[in-house]
Amino acid sequence: MERYYQPEIECASREQILAWQNERLVKQVQHVWDNVPYYRKKMEEKGLTPADIKGVEDLHKLPFLSKDDLREAYPYGLLGMPLKDCVRIQSTSGTTGRRVVAFYTQHDIDLWEDCCARAIVAAGGTNEDVCHVSYGYGLFTGGPGLNGGSHKVGCLTLPMSSGNTDRQLQFMVDLGSTILCCTPSYAAYLAESIHERGLRDQIKLKAGIFGAEAWSEEMRRDIEAKLGIKAYDIYGLTETSGPGVSFECSEQTGMHINEDHFIAEIIDPDTGEVLPEGSKGELVFTSITKEAFPLLRYRTRDICILTREKCSCGRTFVKMSKPMGRSDDMLIVKGVNVFPSQIETVLLEQGYPANYQIIVDRVNNSDTLEVMVEMTPENFSDSLAKITNMEKSLVAALKAMLGIYAKVRLVAPKTITRSEGKAVRVIDKRKI
């Protein structure tokens, strides 16, 4: 039976949800107008005052915020509360340019942890569970978010953080972890280590909550089979609090957005125009309950689809598809759009591990695409011809998927750096 952390909210009628959104949006716009001069100026430039926003139907009038705005306003430009009322910052793992720093009041942390608690309960979590949190702790939102959610549910919380595989597995076995929270690439790595060490019979995992990076359905099935669990997706960004903006239910057909805290829109990334339900486009979030970092119409760069079709789990929140790519993740190689997730799909179909690296370069003014793939004991043979044939069929499958030639480089296992936070899947050497 489906369980909920806050059933009266998660299963509220659409009218009720809209009423909450109308009321909270109006209040939030006033809060931002009064306290965030950076955004007030943007509104003034469009000739808007808070009186112009009477409800969700007026949301489209408001100006967007982008990552560039966050960088420009760094560190305090988008702060909505006096620092004395803030109790925490979290930050993105951005490697280029200035970091994004998000602020939280205690109220903000509370609501964020509620959102994570909803995800844990949706994955079957109760106060009898042992929740093993292997997301990074620290500035990264993954660890603190799920940790807080796990406390709220009443699980025994193991604040493992990432890294130190021996210790991870030892605690998993000795303390009987039942729910694993980490990035999907780290889950795949742990699953492989468990498999290698023959520990499958000694672990008690029943569910996993995996997010913070892109992963495919094939990867989900692979992790589920190796660990004997049900794997749930969770979504979020530091800018909007962290993980828990949306989460998967037992149906596993999309993530319910916590609409009592966020209003989601899908826009055309080129024109900024709001698209009708069911359209594929860029996801935009408006935080309607956050005090310290109240972002209005924040462009996520994630491409996905929203659906309000009735869900069998009983939740009434809108569902977003797994992001189909990020406008900034997409590679253009020889004029063709290539998403790393496509390559991952082919690798798993052909029996290779999902640990890969894509190297794009330019040689003699022509783009080259190389995929580093790990050899496995199952694929290895003493016959060079057999290996060469396998490599050829992988090249053919990649060509069929991508439409362009990709060179395959077979490497020994563990050659590709295993990330214990976010995976480095793409190295683009063309940027000069």
Binding site: M375, F380, S381, D382, S383, T388, V411, P413
Partner: protein
């Protein structure tokens, strides 16, 4: 009469072969034969060690990908036409040799060749029927 060959995946990386022979030497493992098949990007190292189980365990521990392959060793007179006579026999019996290579050194004027075929039992039977005796692991110093 079969001998355990260890087949190891090699990636195209300088020093990998030295790494393999190094860790084996450290364990006091002696190599009786070595053969490499490669493309420009990767290869397969085939080796016969005096202590096959220990050698395999050592390499696995170091994270190498490997498999154990049954092969057959044959003594061949170290003189012109010695090998040709053995190959003639195999050709007549339709035994396809996937690959072969020689063992280090020779004993009593005989060179030793290692053969990899699909059906080792058939190969052994055919050799015996033609008066060529496969040699055992002990004779090659394999424990």
């Amino acid at each position: 009469m079969t001998i355990h060959q260890i087949s190891v995946f090699l990636e195209n990386r300088a020093g990998q072969l030295a790494e393999i022979t190094g860790v084996l030497a450290k364990k006091g493992i002696d190599l009786r034969a070595i053969n490499i098949a490669e493309t420009s990007d990767y290869g397969v190292l085939r080796l016969i060690a005096d202590k096959p189980q220990e050698a395999a365990a050592t390499l696995l521990e170091q994270g190498f990908i490997l498999s154990m392959t049954p092969v057959v060793a044959v003594s061949v007179p170290d003189e012109p036409g010695g090998l040709a006579r053995v190959l003639d026999v195999l050709a007549k019996e339709n035994i396809d040799v996937e690959y072969m290579y020689s063992v280090f050194g020779q004993v009593d004027g005989l060179a030793h060749m290692v053969f990899r075929v699909a059906d080792t039992e058939k190969l052994i039977a055919v050799l015996k029927a033609n008066g060529v005796e496969p040699i055992s692991g002990e004779n090659l110093g394999i424990r």
